[in-house]
Symmetry: C2
Subunit: 427 residues, 2 copies
């Protein structure tokens, strides 16, 4: 589709609230200059001159936002699933990430990642690179070419990291960050930098303080990890005895709230104080249900966060999660919330499919701006889903077909088209 003003026709489904879908059979979705001009049962006369693509009975839904994924871990997705977080990092993850010092290896790995992400259901993503500046810039080049909108972070880590994967000092780490930011400033249309302290265990107070200053100066957003694993939380208590909760080890240095947005991945075991801190600072929780199962981390109380008004988005967290498929993440969010209700806390009802889809679209979408809906005024991010290969003897409603697609995207579903801010992505 050339140009950024056009009309799509198909069976439309998207959230009008956290708990409700709006559906239209054979509806019209209008894109004008890369933004939605609205969803209509009949095409308004004023749009009759725009090029129209009729997708028949394909589903048209908002794009999905993966707000936590590690690009250099993509090469070992689906293997090395036998350890918990801290041992997993030391045994598998750090050695693999160290290979991205080599640009030839990074070229191979990031080409595959960017290519697969382009063809995936993800329209926008927030991505960890490694500590290496040239590799991270290469990753940004690759992602820019996909047409997806992404934030990408050069990782900071200056303590409790192996020699082969550590900034030598806080100042060296900060200097590398400033140099990276200077390099990429204004270089891309779709790809923006995000400050990325790996997590408190690998970031000295001095480094955190420096990153807080860069955030204050630049208004750049931040991503990191928080309260993922019980051993990690104990470790942070020992490393930062001055903190009253893990979240405070970021907030103390100005890394939550203020002049920019922050994403904290996981938050499986946040204390009431920490949850209130997340809420008060507008911090986004990146919920990563598959990773939290496969690394034996646990299940985050997402229902509680939604009730309290904490911002929540969804992440695949490859390679703690194996799958880049965001529909799978939606289904896993529902399934894991049910197991949490059953096994952990029957005070917190499980998530519905509408709520999980909301988290994957509007929930994480607002991190990027007006993103995650097909309603008027939102950036035109859309997926066209051919579900004719998921066969049934039944007549299904549009809503049922979207629910089914969340569970069975890879088992008979086909992504027919994908748009980001009105630009069609090559599949």
């Amino acid at each position: 589709m050339e140009g950024k003003s056009f009309v799509l026709k198909g069976d439309v489904c998207y959230n009008v609230s956290q708990t409700e879908f709006r559906t239209l059979e054979a509806g019209y979705v209008v894109c004008v200059d890369g933004a939605s001009a609205g969803v209509f049962e009949e095409l308004p006369e004023r749009y009759a001159q725009l090029p129209l693509r009729d997708f028949g009975h394909a589903l048209i839904v908002p794009g999905l936002n993966d707000i936590h994924v590690h690009a250099p871990q993509y090469g070992f997705r689906g293997i090395a699933m036998d350890l918990e977080l801290l041992d997993w990092l030391n045994t598998y993850t750090f050695p693999e990430e160290s290979k991205y010092a080599d640009l030839a290896y990074a070229e191979k790995g990031y080409s595959i990642f960017a290519d697969d992400l382009q063809r995936s259901f993800t329209t926008r993503a927030v991505v960890f690179g490694t500590m290496h500046v040239p590799g991270t810039e290469l990753l940004m080049d690759k992602l820019e070419a996909t047409g997806l909108k992404t934030y990408v972070g050069k990782v900071n880590m200056d303590r409790n990291s192996p020699d082969y994967l550590s900034d030598q000092t806080a100042e060296a780490s900060l200097e590398a960050t400033r140099s990276w930011l200077a390099d990429v400033s204004g270089r891309y249309q779709n790809t923006l930098p995000i400050l990325t302290p790996r997590f408190t265990p690998t970031c000295s107070d001095e480094l955190m303080e420096g990153l807080g200053k860069i955030k204050a100066e630049t208004g750049l957003p931040v991503q990191s990890h928080l309260s993922e694993n019980l051993s990690e939380i104990d470790w942070v208590k020992g490393l930062c005895p001055w903190s009253s909760c893990y979240g405070q080890t970021y907030d103390h240095f100005g890394l939550l709230g203020g002049n920019s947005k922050t994403i904290m991945a996981h938050c499986n075991y946040s204390t009431p104080e920490e949850v209130e801190l997340l809420r008060a600072t507008g911090t986004y929780v990146a919920h990563c249900p598959q990773s939290n199962a496969f690394l034996s981390s646990g299940i985050a109380p997402i229902r509680d966060y939604l009730c309290r008004g904490v911002n929540v988005g969804l992440g695949t967290d490859v390679a703690g999660g194996a799958s880049l498929n965001m529909f799978r993440a939606v289904a896993d969010a529902v399934g894991c919330s049910k197991l949490r209700w059953r096994c952990v806390d029957q005070e917190l009802p499980s998530l519905t499919i509408q709520e999980a889809f909301w988290i994957a679209t509007l929930g994480g979408g607002s991190f990027f701006g007006k993103v995650g809906s097909l309603d008027e005024g939102f950036d035109f991010d859309a997926l066209v889903l051919d579900d004719s290969g998921i066969r049934s003897p039944r007549e299904l409603s549009v809503e049922q077909r979207l629910e089914r697609y969340c569970y069975l995207a890879d088992e008979g579903g086909r992504l027919a088209a994908k748009f980001v801010a009105g630009k069609e992505i090559e599949l």
Copy 2:
């Protein structure tokens, strides 16, 4: 591949114990008259005359056995996931199953199920039909044509069932069963009948007693459900106050052990007495992790069952589970066991990928006979998996590639060939 004696060449991986894989790069797997003649690093001279198919670097692994799946529920897989078991049955499942009284609807639904099962990773399956005899015979016709080996059950239910889906009396249910058995006796090469009381809540003592007699007379195997959901278990206590555990409501009527094999699906909350009953009678637990998550049922303590020597196989339990993909079931068995370890009981270590793959192959395979391995003497059930579409910058071992396939079968994997008892299945 014509004929049932041939050689396959590829990267071979299969369990030599519950905890260990054997792998061969560019190995030879020999099939003679439908059974394995062994796996070899070099092709023995005596097999040099057999036709050889070289699959290059595709993986060759044993077929996967789905020992619990409901064919008439396939049409609503992936929808209607918002209720627990008993409400789910009454609201969604019973109304859908009642449609299979209509052979035209059954033709549509079972054609899709059989076709998708044929193309799936499943080589053998144990299948619930409905209470309807003509529909169940149609299902058996369809499954026979796939070339897969299956057991199929006409469901018995004579109480606590809606009028529109209930045998009128125990005797009517038994008479329908006898009539069905007479019809299908000797009719099929691959498709065998299995006695199928739905579960204790819908089967009167009189019906159970009659089915126990048919079992004793015929030596037919049995399948049912056991201790899936806490409300169900409470209900059974009320219905059968004479029983000391839910399992006894089957055993009392001779439905466990003795002259044939029995499968009990789920066993999420079996008491120590019940577990000992399952072990002593050689009953198979059909572990259905995805269904147990999506119906909010819980997580079965499979590690405990393995330690105690209870027979365990794996099931998709469509449509409690959404996916027919048995590799997905393997990955879910690992993931759910990790969540159980984390959230429920840290005395029971989680399952490894080797153990979960063992359950899907040899664990459930022994229900069918000498099935589930590529070793000499086993029925030649094999999958050839092209994983070249799951790209990585890394060199991976054969074992790592199989592990990865369990997590990512539908995300870049391709089933290149499938054999059941030496017969190639059309894909």
